[in-house]
């Protein structure tokens, strides 16, 4: 079920020089993309030329011009302004949900790794949760509770906490059997000390990579939900919602639909590039 990153010796002869440079390039490129979107999410709405709901153009799907750098959308609103607000929604909701999922998952994972019966209960619980297809779970929960932002964050976090749980549990179990943990136990250290001071510091790297991966999954699911009309509700929008509402512009290649599409892709590809570079390209895909 679980794929924990492993490092290994490369097979056969190859040119590590090329490989290394490629890794650095993808780290730089991916990192720059992520930082770009973080900045956009942070300051974007403040510098937006128009209110997101304001109709500024009589023409719909108009091409880019000096007044409307990304053209107008299906109602004649400014695409740039809507993009800036949508990026903030997508990035902040995804970040919050990932943070929540990681916190719950890692906490339960560490707890499970340190006790037998807690492990049995949590494992079964999270296994059950992950058996419901993610989009279906979102469909039903949001369909019944309404698409408010807390509900969105909660749903996304619920869907992706089992993955964080499984990863941190597996990692922690591998470390918990090492001799230095045994030495600490033999010294009489308390469980919280052992978990926080001996085990956790060794998990930071792999968990960071897992966090990035989960951020990608959350972003994709959020966009999928928005595409089905279950995401951020009008007049606000996230990137997925922008694609949905402007889908009619696809036929003539309107920026209103293409820009948010590429925005989602660059965000997730950028994150994937960073993770791949950091974990040496040996990461296998997890469950989406």
């Amino acid at each position: 079920m679980n794929t924990v990153p492993k490092s290994g010796v490369p097979y056969g002869a190859q040119a590590p020089k090329v490989r290394r440079r490629r890794m650095n390039v993808s780290l730089l490129l991916g990192g720059a993309t992520i930082i770009f979107w973080l900045i956009v999410a942070l300051v974007g709405p403040m510098v937006a030329p128009h209110a997101p709901g304001q109709v500024v153009d009589l023409d719909v799907f108009s091409p880019a011009s000096s007044t409307l750098p990304l053209g107008s959308d299906y109602l004649g609103r400014d695409v740039l302004s809507r993009m800036l607000i949508a990026s903030r929604f997508t990035v902040s909701i995804a970040l919050l949900a990932t943070l929540l999922a990681a916190t719950v998952g890692v906490f339960c994972g560490l707890l499970a790794a340190s006790s037998g019966w807690v492990d049995a209960i949590f494992s079964k619980l999270f296994d059950t949760l992950s058996a419901v297809p993610s989009l279906m779970f979102g469909l039903v929960v949001i369909g019944s509770l309404g698409a408010s932002i807390p509900v969105l964050v909660g749903t996304l976090a619920t869907v992706y906490s089992p993955g964080a749980f499984r990863t941190s549990r597996a990692l922690a179990r591998n470390i918990a059997v090492l001799d230095f943990v045994t030495v600490a136990r033999a010294r009489g250290e308390t469980l919280p000390y052992i978990v926080l001071r001996e085990i956790l510091p060794n998990l930071v790297g792999p968990l960071a990579a897992d966090f990035g991966l989960r951020f990608v999954f959350v972003t994709l699911l959020l966009s999928g939900l928005s595409f089905l009309g279950l995401g951020v509700q009008p007049p606000n929008a996230d990137l997925g919602a922008l694609v949905r509402e402007n889908i009619a512009g696809l036929g003539f290649g309107a920026a209103a639909v293409l820009v948010p599409t590429f925005a989602i892709a660059s965000l997730t590809i950028g994150m994937n590039m960073v993770i791949d570079a950091v974990s040496g390209g040996r990461r296998a895909g997890g469950r989406r």
């Binding site: 010796v9 190859q14 590590p16 020089k17 440079r21 001799d179 230095f180 030495v183 009489g188 060794n202």
Partner: protein
């Protein structure tokens, strides 16, 4: 050095480099020139990182990972392996040169039956039919003294013991009658009693088939038995080459001398004077009839799988108990029981006369402080994310409430105590060498100011010269601090050097408990004798002379409930007695053995003359 004729193997000016993550080439093996004559066995010896395996693999035209042959030539049986394309090399590997790996357990494919893998070289090179190959394999199984040679091939690797797998791998290497066989540390992972059997089998086959071989090892005593010539390597360079006798008895280089000195039997340390104590004082630590294991508990309160079965001993203040046994004898569990990491099912552990609780959380801090554990593998015993100073400082804060400058000063003092510079406190374990890590590991245990150190194989993961130094440090520390040790090891030589008393464990049962003097005496439990007789000595010809009258099989006695655990391997057993009744305990001068024969009966058994410590 070659006497006559063309050598089978000739390396000239061989240089192997590895490309690191930054794309820089780093030379790991440089300017190696050596020859192997047909029918000769050459040993490559050196510590980890000396390049011995890398050089041996180059004789197969193979380099691992990002390594490559960057200069020089490799010539084997008339083929220039350094310049051949991969497809041609593939035709030579397994046919002209073959390979026996260090861990056969990892080198056998777990998914395929053994026979299929053993005959594969013969089949892929199209040398014989499947039937002929299988026949030949069974012949080799017999020649290698494998039990059940006709059916062992039908098994999967996980169903066969490590010593047998190692011999099966040799059969796989020999099935094509190659011109050269590379043995890469083939007995390192084995217990001594198994190692001697495997070595004997290898030697017989190499002699009978006239095989030319390159034998890679870090163990000079093992190499002395099987090689004609030795090549000593260090940091990827040849230190010295010569005939076995030359290297062992007339080493020219300082490094070779250090290596020979480390491999020679140690002079036992001067015994510690008894610490002053009242006659009525209880021993520092005392274990009484401890039974420990896994699985559910039966009607008598005993666990299903018993790892320790009725172990008793006592250690006085400042004394050293050596615990010796092979893998699976329960020696590590013994340390875990004393440390409170494994609660015994029955029996008692007393500290200064007070009974210790089975589990850590029921022991008080003072009890925990007095007993400290030191592990074998310093790589896993130190937290890679915690600095040296923090690792040593934590017990100071935990047990002695030291903080700030006081703690820093004490950390520096402890580092000095284990002969390390105080500046190391700021480093992470990853920046230290193996020997340094083990010293930090010791310093952390000493920080608690314990009365008893539980040392679990503390020197076995280290290179011989480094291990010697750590052992010397332990002996010094004991003198300086008046510490008591429980010293767990598989190496009887170390026990002789450091212990005041020795306990021999077999299958979780103490078969012998002997004082230092009694250990040097002639009479021992048959298993102790086997163990002593199995440790290779640093002289050629020992293997041939080594008496195997002590053992009649390497399969540890599993699955029989009653009687002596050693029955199935014992050469002097009484069938009908030993396999039915638990052995009686006989007490002699400074010595206790659990054997039906008793001291008188053992005196009369054959082979006792050699059973004494060979001088």
């Amino acid at each position: 050095m070659s006497l006559s004729g063309d050598p089978l193997v000739r390396l000239t000016g061989l240089e192997i480099s590895v490309r690191d993550a930054q794309g820089q080439d780093k030379i790991i093996v440089r300017d190696i020139s050596l020859e192997v004559q047909p029918g000769e066995v050459l040993a490559l010896i050196g510590e980890s990182g000396s390049g011995k395996t890398t050089i041996a693999l180059s004789m197969l035209g193979y380099t691992r990972g990002a390594c490559r042959i960057s200069d020089g030539t490799v010539e084997v049986a008339g083929h220039r392996l350094d310049s051949l394309p991969e497809a041609r090399l593939q035709g030579l590997r397994g046919r002209v040169v073959s390979y026996v790996a260090q861990s056969a357990a990892a080198a056998f494919n777990p998914m395929l039956p053994i026979m299929r893998q053993v005959i594969e070289p013969a089949l892929v090179h199209g040398l014989m039919t499947r039937e002929a190959a299988e026949d030949k394999a069974r012949g080799l199984f017999r020649a290698l003294a494998l039990p059940r040679p006709d059916t062992v091939g039908d098994r999967y690797p996980h169903q066969v013991s490590g010593g047998q797998l190692q011999r099966l791998m040799a059969a796989m290497a020999l099935i094509t009658d190659p011109a050269l066989v590379i043995f890469d540390e083939p007995t390192t992972a084995l217990d001594v009693t198994t190692q001697i059997e495997v070595l004997k089998a290898f030697k017989a086959v190499v002699r009978d088939l006239g095989t030319t071989a390159v034998y890679v090892s870090h163990d000079l005593a093992v190499v002395a038995q099987i090689a004609d010539r030795i090549c000593v390597l260090r940091d990827g360079m040849v230190q010295e080459q010569g005939r076995v006798e030359e290297i062992l008895f007339h080493p020219r280089q300082d490094y070779t001398r250090a290596l020979v000195a480390a491999a020679a039997a140690r002079v036992p340390a001067a015994p510690m004077p008894d610490l002053p104590r009242d006659a009525g004082d209880p021993p520092l630590i005392q274990m009484r009839d401890v039974v420990a294991g896994y699985g559910g508990v039966d009607a008598q309160g005993n666990p299903q799988v018993r790892i320790l079965d009725g172990v008793s001993f006592a250690i006085e203040r400042g004394k050293v108990l050596g615990v010796i046994g092979e893998s699976g004898s329960g020696k590590s569990t013994l340390a875990r029981v004393v440390a409170g990491l494994h609660a015994p099912a029955s029996g008692r552990v007393n500290l200064d006369g007070y009974t210790l609780e089975g589990e850590i959380r029921h022991r008080d801090k003072e009890q925990l402080r007095r007993v400290q554990l030191v592990f074998q593998n310093a790589d896993t015993a130190l937290n890679p994310a915690v600095s040296v100073g923090e690792a040593i400082g934590r017990p100071l804060t935990f047990f002695h409430a030291l903080r700030g400058a006081d703690r820093k000063a004490e950390v520096a003092r402890l580092l000095d105590l284990v002969r390390l510079p105080a500046a190391l406190a700021g480093r992470l374990p990853g920046e230290l060498s193996g020997g340094q890590k083990q010293r930090v590991n010791l310093a952390r245990a000493l920080a608690a100011r314990p009365d008893l150190l539980l040392c679990d194989e503390v020197t076995s993961a280290l290179d011989p010269v480094v291990a010697e130094a750590v052992l010397d440090l332990l002996i010094d520390l004991r003198r300086e601090l008046g510490l008591a040790y429980m010293f767990i090891t598989h190496d009887i030589g170390i026990v002789r050097a450091i212990a005041d008393e020795v306990m021999v464990l077999y299958g979780g049962v103490p078969v012998e408990l002997a004082s230092h003097e009694a250990l040097e005496g002639p009479l021992h439990h048959p298993y102790t004798r086997l163990l002593m007789a199995s440790v290779p000595e640093l002289r050629p010809g020992w293997l041939e002379a080594a008496n195997s009258a002590f053992s009649c099989g390497s399969t540890p006695g599993a699955g029989h409930a009653a009687g002596c655990r050693f029955f199935q391997r014992c050469a002097v057993s009484h069938p009908g007695l030993c396999d039915v009744l638990d052995p009686a305990v006989h007490v002699g001068a400074g010595q206790t053995i659990a054997c039906h024969r008793g001291f008188d009966g053992l005196q009369a058994t054959p082979g006792i003359a050699q059973g004494a410590i060979p001088a």
